[in-house]
Structure formats: C-alpha cells, structure tokens
C-alpha cells in the first residue's frame, strides 16, 4: 500500500508541471528558436469546420468524437480524454509506437506521406498491418471527415485471449 500512496503523492505533485505541446496548432520549441511561427495560437475553427472521427477501441466499442483540422489523432484522444489503454506514451515525440492505429484502405491512402522516422517506429508496433499509422503523425483535415481509426489489440489483450 505504501507504493500506492507514493504513486498518488507522485501524481498529485505532478499536477502543476506537465505541459502538453504535441498539438499541431501549438508552436514547438523548434518554432521558437527559428521564429518562423508566432506564439499566438490561431483563431479557433468554427464549429462547422470540425472533423468527425470514429475510434474503434480495443474492446470493439465505437467512440465518436470531433476534432479540429490540423490536430493530430493523438491530440484528439488527449483533448477528448478517451480511455485508450497505454495510448501515446511518448507524447507524440516519435520514440514509441503506442499510438498505433489501423485504417481502412481508402482512408489510409488519403492520410499523406509517411516520414522515415514514423516508418521506423511503425516497424516496432504490435500487430502491424499494411494500413497502420501512428496517431501522433496523422493530422485531421476536412477531407478526412468521418474517418474510422481502429485501435489494435494490445500485447496484454493477446495474452489474455491466449490464456482464456
């Protein structure tokens, strides 16, 4: 129980600290030092500009949410506080592949270019498919309205079903 208490303290202590800067709409450090982008956050898109996204969670549940153009799918998961176990552990810094998502063929083709760095991380994703992407690298646009993103089975799920 001591550990639980310690972890509670830890999480409480951290409340004021974390800053989340993965969203495409917010500037990053890189932008700060080049001065190419200003610090002001752009005007909020109109409600009608929102893009509808359907996530199929690990348990098969469909979650429908809306996101703004320019946001990544990881941003949407964080902003909408979706309960997807272990999703986006490295906060969109391309150090893991926990925001792995699977798309339908036609949607996958519309998602834009995959960088080498994303490919390398995808290679390490569990349950990789030909239409897999990392959620932190897929940015919403109006043309993606209604897209379906499937969250793949996790390692733990696979183990449980084997055990069953």
């Amino acid at each position: 129980m001591a550990l639980v208490a310690a972890l509670r303290r830890l999480s409480h202590a951290s409340l004021g600290f974390y800053s989340w800067r993965a969203a495409a709409a917010t500037p990053t450090f890189g932008a700060w030092i080049t001065g190419q982008r200003s610090f002001t956050v752009g005007s909020q898109p109109l409600r009608s500009d929102k893009v509808t996204v359907h996530f199929i969670n690990r348990d098969g549940d469909k979650i429908t949410v809306k996101g703004s153009p320019g946001e990544s799918l990881l941003d949407v998961v964080i902003n909408e506080d979706l309960d997807i176990d272990g999703f986006g552990a490295c906060e969109g810094t391309l150090a893991c592949s926990t925001c792995h998502l699977i798309f339908e063929d036609d949607v996958f083709k519309k998602l834009g270019r995959i960088t080498d760095e994303e490919m390398d991380m995808l290679d390490l994703a569990y349950g990789l498919t030909d239409t897999s992407r990392l959620g932190c690298q897929v940015c919403l646009s109006k043309s993606l309205d209604g897209l379906v993103a499937k969250v793949p089975e996790s390692v733990a799920d696979a183990r449980q079903s084997q055990d069953g």
């Binding site: 129980m1 550990l3 639980v4 972890l7 509670r8 830890l10 999480s11 202590a13 951290s14 409340l15 004021g16 600290f17 974390y18 800053s19 989340w20 800067r21 993965a22 969203a23 917010t26 500037p27 990053t28 450090f29 890189g30 700060w32 030092i33 080049t34 001065g35 610090f39 964080i78 902003n79 506080d81 309960d83 272990g86 986006g88 552990a89 490295c90 906060e91 969109g92 810094t93 391309l94 150090a95 893991c96 926990t98 995959i114 960088t115 080498d116 760095e117 490919m119 390398d120 995808l122 290679d123 390490l124 569990y126 990789l128 030909d130 390692v155 733990a156 183990r159 084997q162 055990d163």
Partner: protein, 539 residues
C-alpha cells in the same frame, strides 16, 4: 536572479495551460494503472499469482518455471570469467557465448546481484512493450550518492520515478521530434565545416599526406563540439589548432570518467565500509564528476549572465536550447546543470565510436562506399551542403548508420528493473529483477538478420512504401518512453558528417590498420586505433 524572477511573469510557460489538465488526467490514469496492476511485495518464494498462470489449453494448466529453474553460468565460473579473465571487456562476446550455451533467457550472478539476460528479439519486445510510465534502467546508487554529497540534482540518466518523468516530459518536447531537431541543422553544418578543415590539416601532417591516425580522437572532438554547440549554444574550439585550456580540462575529465568506468562499476559493488581500504575508485569517480559539473556550470552561468544583461538593456532574448530552458524555467537551474552534464556525457563517445566504425566499415568495403557516394552525388552533387531535410532523400546514408549500429551497437546491452511481476519466456520474473537486454546478440543473430556478420547497409532500404523491416533485433537507441533522448541529435550529427566526408573524400584503410575488433569499456568501442586515409575525390 531578480531578473530571472521577472521572467516568470512573462508567459513563456503558460501557452499550453489549457492542455495541462487533460494531460494530467492522462498521466494520472497511467500512474493509477501502473499502481493497480502491480503485485506488491516480492514473490520469490510465494506461490505464483493466479493471474500469471498461463495454459496451453483449457484442461491442462502449465505453470511458469521459477528463477531457480532458469539455466545460467555458475556463480564461481562467472566471477572467474569477469574478474580474472577480464570478461568486462568481452561482455558483448560473452553475451553471445552464454545465449548459445543457456538459451534465449538465462541468469547470471555478479556477487549479490542477480541478472536475468534476455537475448531474444521477441522477448526484448515483450519487456519493452510492457513498460509503465517511469521505467527504471539499473541501480544508480553511486551516482545518487555523489549528487547527494555535492547537493547536485539528478539528470535524465540518473533520475528515477517522479523526478525522471517530470524532466523527461520537459526535455522530450525540446529535442526528440525530428522537426524540432532539424533546426540545429545549420549549427551542426558549421561544426562539420571545421571537421573537414581539421581532416585536411591533420592528413597534411602525416608522412604520406593522407593518413589520420586514431580517427576516434578526431570524431570525439567533433561530437563534443557538435553537442556543445547545441547544448551550450557556444563553440568550444575542440577542432581548432589550439584547444582552449578549459576545454582541454573538460576533455580530461571526460576521459577520466570513461577510463574509470570499469572501476566505478566496481565502486558500486564495493561496500562503503571498504572505501578506506580501496579509496581510489570512489575518489576518481567524484573527481571526474566534479570536472564535468564544473564545465557545465561555467557555460550555463555564462549564458544566464548574457540573458540577464540583455534583459537589463531591454533587448529581446533569442537563442537556442539552453536559452529556452533558462527562460522557460520548466526545470530549476540546478536541474539544467545536471541535465546538460549528463547529456554531454552521453552524447560524445557514443557518437564518436559510431562515426569511427562507420568510416572504418566504408573503408573496408569500397564497393559499398561507391554505392553510397553515387547516391549522394545523385541527390546533392559534390558541393551542396546537406541539411536535415535532405537526409530523407538519402536512404543509403540512413542505412549506413543503422547497419553500423547493428554491427557495433555502442550500448551492447541495456538494463531494466522489472516494475511488476511478469512471465517471460516461460519463467516467472518477480518485480524488482534486474534484466539485461542483450542487444549485441540479437543484432548479430542470423535469424533476425540473414548473413548477420556481413556489412550490408542496403538491408535497411525499403523496397516500397509499405515494405516493413521487423527490426526489434537492432534497437541501438532503445525503444519507448525511456529510449535515448539524444537519438535525433546524434543521427543529425552522424548523417551530416558522413555525407560531407563521402562528398569530399575517398576513405581507405591505412596499411597501419588491420582487422579491428570491438571491446567493451562501458560502451562498445574500437579495440585498437583505427587509422584511415582520406583521399580527395576527383571533381
């Protein structure tokens, strides 16, 4: 400091406030999960928890085996191997030998320390994929002791738990994303200019006018200059004819750190009460840390003073990584000292060894060098200075670095202390067990990489956009939340240096150098000096 306090009233850190709560819920949830999924108390002698019992079918339950049943070398023979036969310098080879003898998962004892070695690609993946929010690498007690004694902060290498997670969350947002690191492209390019000048100067001093002896010496200075340009926002002069005294002192402190690496490994194992009898390892350890911290403090303080006077004059403060850290104040100045010190320590010889091996491999394989040269000529020509953006069009250069790190992973093994009970490879591994992930043996396993001993950068080139390379066998920078934070910076430094070297020179092995083998000295390094010839390319 009053000026710095004024800075807190500026809104640098507050732009992201609206996202904080959501992020916190996310972190809280992770921590909660980590806490609730754990089994508390060490379960070595207890019956296995029901949830960990796996079965092949519904009727027949198969219990995981215990650590006692795990094969491995005997305690005495292991001590003999490491302390008498200097196994520490052959630790990478012993990894392979032991995995052949005992299988993909085996246990060894180093005095009181039990280590479970994992020498299988899929098992390594299993360990890293099961990680919680704040994975622990190894026991860093001696590092903590030094920091407590000198009232210093921990940095990303030595910190654990909450402290680690907080600093990692700040730093990964600054230097982990490829697009954030690409802004350092010009700074690194300037250091590459000096590297090339230095190569031309050094070779002209040799008797044949082409040879540079012990190339690692030069790459060490390049890597140090490169990382300092990014971390300290200043040039140290490592690549100039006359190196400034304070830089020389720092290089000495670094060398002392590395040369005492082995003794510090013992220093951790030697009980404190034995220190009066064997004081030297601990004293050297402290001396070298003193030197490293002193150097960082000088450079951080210098920048801090500049910022203060700029603000006093009412000037706008602009700058790079250090400026941002000092202005944003997401970490205390003491934490900034510790982090730049540890990042510099981690980012110099790792990069220089890899560059040394890469040039050695190019020199030993002229046909491969020719192919890569052709790619560079096609994309850039002989004069255009490459930027970070150009690298994506040079898959052979990326393949060269990956293949070099596969053959010579600078960290031949990595550690993890299990944070939960787990079943791995059919064995029950209790929480708190030290694991050794054997990257050297998985990298050189024919099952993972056919003809694994051959140098073939093209094995990393994708044939088409959906071509997948199952590469958990070679993860030189690690994977996941505790992977190398300097990965993208190191890649940038190596890519830009290698591109320019290939544009300018034909690299050949000097007759002075024959087959160079690797040895482990904390890191995997060349076992003998690598002497190379740099011959101008015909334009």
């Amino acid at each position: 400091m009053s000026v710095m306090n004024k800075l807190t009233t500026t809104c640098w850190t507050n732009f992201y406030g609206d996202r904080r709560n959501k992020q916190m819920l996310f972190v809280l949830r992770c921590l909660h999960k980590s806490a609730t999924s754990g089994t508390f108390g060490v379960a070595r002698e207890e019956p296995l928890p029901e949830r960990l019992i796996t079965s092949t079918d519904a009727t027949k339950k198969r219990l995981p085996k215990t650590l006692a049943e795990m094969p491995g070398p005997g305690t005495i023979s292991n001590l003999f191997e490491f302390f008498w036969r200097d196994g520490f310098s052959r630790i990478h080879e012993i990894q392979i030998e032991h995995s052949k003898m005992y299988g993909k998962i085996f246990k060894s004892r180093f005095g009181p320390q039990l280590v479970v070695s994992v020498a299988d690609r899929d098992l390594v993946a299993e360990v890293l994929r099961a990680e919680g929010v704040a994975p622990q690498r190894a026991n860093m007690e001696s590092w903590h002791e030094y920091r407590d004694m000198r009232r210093r902060s921990t940095g990303l290498i030595s910190a654990e738990g909450e402290d680690w997670l907080r600093m990692r969350s700040v730093l990964r947002q600054l230097i982990m994303r490829p697009r954030d690191v690409a802004v350092f492209s010009d700074d690194v390019s300037e250091v590459v200019d000096d590297l090339i000048k230095r190569i031309v100067c050094l070779r002209s001093q040799s008797s044949d006018g082409t040879t540079i002896c012990n190339i690692n010496d030069l790459f060490f200075k390049y890597a140090m200059e490169g990382i300092a340009a990014i971390l300290y926002e200043c040039r140290l002069g490592c690549l100039s004819q006359k190196i400034p005294q304070e830089t020389e002192d720092y290089i000495d402190a670094l060398h002392l750190m590395f040369s005492s690496f082995k003794t510090t490994m013992y220093a951790g194992a030697i009980p404190k009460w034995l220190r009066p009898v064997f004081p030297k390892p601990w004293e050297e350890f402290c001396d070298s840390w003193d030197g490293l911290f002193r150097f960082s403090c000088v450079h951080v303080d210098k920048r801090l003073k500049q910022i203060e006077s700029q603000l006093q004059r009412g000037e706008k403060v602009t700058g790079g990584l250090l400026t941002y850290m000092l202005v944003a104040k997401e970490m205390s100045v003491e934490e900034i000292y510790a982090n730049v010190t540890e990042m510099l320590l981690a980012g110099v010889d790792t990069t220089s060894f890899t560059l040394s091996w890469a040039s050695y491999l190019l020199a030993r394989h002229p046909d491969v060098q020719q192919q890569i040269h052709a790619e560079v000529m096609r994309v850039l020509g002989s004069e255009k200075v490459a930027t970070a953006e150009d690298v994506q069009h040079l898959p052979f250069i990326r393949g060269l670095v990956k293949e070099t790190l596969r053959l010579f992973p600078v960290l031949p093994g990595n550690g993890r202390i299990t944070q939960d009970d787990m079943v791995l490879g059919g064995y029950f591994i209790p929480k708190g067990t030290q694991l050794a992930l054997c990257h050297y043996s998985t990298s050189l396993d024919d099952e993972n990489f056919p003809s694994s001993l051959e140098f073939r950068p093209d094995r990393w080139i994708r044939k088409h956009s959906s071509d997948r390379l199952d590469n958990f066998g070679s993860i030189p920078f690690g994977y996941g939340i505790r992977s190398c934070i300097g990965k993208r910076i190191a890649e940038l430094e190596m890519h830009l240096a290698l591109i320019r070297i290939i544009q300018k020179f034909h690299v050949c092995v000097s007759p002075l150098t024959t087959d160079v083998k690797a040895k482990t000295h904390g890191l995997l390094c060349p076992g003998a000096p690598i002497n190379l010839q740099f011959i101008d390319r015909e334009i």
